[in-house]
Symmetry: C2
């Protein structure tokens, strides 16, 4: 997929609400910067719960909400109606959320009414958000912390090997399990299993489905600090075997299998998690607790 295709397909996701396409295209065309990535219809998780935002700029951790309905959370994000099972939910704790209000409240005959803003007012709100985005970008450029949008490089392990680490805040996702493995000393052409050894450190690499599926009842807590796993077929036997295996007790660098809003399978970095045996005994599920948001990357060790 090239940038043309990516941009057109992202914009096509914005046909859902009446004003959404207008707002999103205006922001994008006025911003007019092909070094900046955006995502539409992004699922997020925050301390206040899960939500969906209309436009997301990952490089500056900023979300846009087009307020044209009454169904909003206290923080201005949309109440999520139908979360997709495999959705790519990113942790948006600390992210900025900007709202474009299509309706204003007015009092008429002592009754509060919702009145549509005129187009000049809507445009002005959008223009202010565009200015804000420009400033955020400039700050990132000035502090040399902006990674220019490169649609090839962002899925290439070499990019993260060169950076020396992967952090949850960097919004890292890979197209294949092999690509993720290759950030940790491997040089795989292909790899299909959901569990692999780290080629350098005493850690494991894990690629779970964090949603209920045929064999597993899995979930991640909304603050993403805990993953819960239950083997539907015979959890007791699975648990007993798991806790006696040294590999299972190691820290696991975790990439969740997700589906992007364009339908592509991706492996999204979630952090490092560790099997908590006492908590698991108590819960009747295997509990993995997050131990770190960041991991070191390694170039191929060439011993494969």
């Amino acid at each position: 997929m090239n940038k043309t295709d990516y941009i057109i397909r992202q914009i096509a996701k914005s046909y859902k609400k009446k004003y959404e396409n207008y707002v999103i295209t205006r922001i994008w065309h006025l911003l007019n910067n092909l070094n900046i990535k955006f995502v539409t219809q992004q699922h997020i998780t925050r301390p206040t719960g899960r939500a969906l935002t209309d436009m997301y700029f990952p490089q500056i951790q900023l979300h846009i909400e087009v307020d044209e309905s009454q169904h909003f959370n206290a923080d201005g994000t949309q109440v999520e109606q139908d979360i997709v099972r495999e959705a790519d939910i990113i942790n948006a704790t600390g992210h900025i959320i900007k709202r474009i209000s299509i309706f204003a409240k007015s009092i008429e005959d002592n009754v509060e009414k919702s009145v549509e803003n005129n187009i000049e007012n809507i445009n002005q709100q959008i223009d202010e958000v565009v200015d804000f985005i420009q400033n955020e970008i400039k700050t990132k450029i000035d502090t040399e912390t902006l990674h220019l949008w490169d649609i090839e490089a962002e899925y290439n392990p070499q990019t993260y090997i060169d950076r020396g680490s992967i952090s949850v805040d960097d919004n890292v996702a890979f197209r294949t399990i092999a690509h993720a493995c290759n950030c940790f000393g491997h040089d795989y052409a292909g790899y299909q299993k959901a569990f692999a050894k780290h080629a350098v450190e005493e850690k494991m690499l894990w690629f779970p489905k964090l949603y209920e599926n045929e064999e597993w009842e899995n979930e991640i807590s909304s603050d993403e600090t805990e993953i819960r796993e239950r083997y539907k077929l015979d959890h007791k036997a699975y648990f007993d075997k798991a806790k006696s295996s040294p590999d299972n007790l190691k820290e696991r660098i975790t990439f969740a299998r997700v589906r992007s809003n364009l339908g592509d399978v991706m492996y999204r970095f979630k952090g490092v998690y560790k099997f908590d045996v006492p908590a698991s005994e108590y819960a009747g599920k295997i509990i993995y607790k997050r131990t770190s948001n960041q991991v070191k990357t390694y170039k191929p060790m060439n011993h494969e």
Copy 2:
């Protein structure tokens, strides 16, 4: 309908083709001028035939075509697949048509292939069109021939009474028959019939459906110089009666009943036409020939 609503609804018509919404919103947001009107999915007629253009700026008689398919006329307009029976078809003779090419031709192994332009190239083409539009607007402003877009005034008879005339080139349409009549000396609150007397001149006002319907087999030639009318139930009797009525032989100021791309009924000014009896005898239909593209307007005569 206000401008907000109009703009949002026009843009929503552009979801049909993959790149159309991207191109149209980019032109609109970069133009960034609420005094300029646009129409999407405009049916046109030209000497080369009928067509559909993606974006139309009536004030400067300019059309945009997003070329992303192979089905084009020699002049770059889209071949019309399914013309809506009641569609508002405007005469675009002499209008400018600008194309945005999504694909470029390239030769590979001696075979001509269609290759997608990259987003930088597409943006550059759009930016050049925006510059062109800005220049056209500037020329109109400099020569004091630009009528600023006023969504109320454009459907108000008073606007055209003040101007002193109505021309086909001005793209005039009214919401009701009464409004059209009121440009010619009347002061109607309502009027339902398709034929009326001019309140001042020895002319008639006519509001035909120029497409086949239950009782009538009507059409307008693609160059709009001729209207053909046949009464399905008993054409011979109708014709004999028509040619012996003095009113029918008068020039008729003609507003065709059409439906806009947003679904609204409108009465679109087509010019002045006159019953041609010999041609009608020969054709077996009543033939009206266009005698003028422009008519004088009158304020209410106050004798009603």
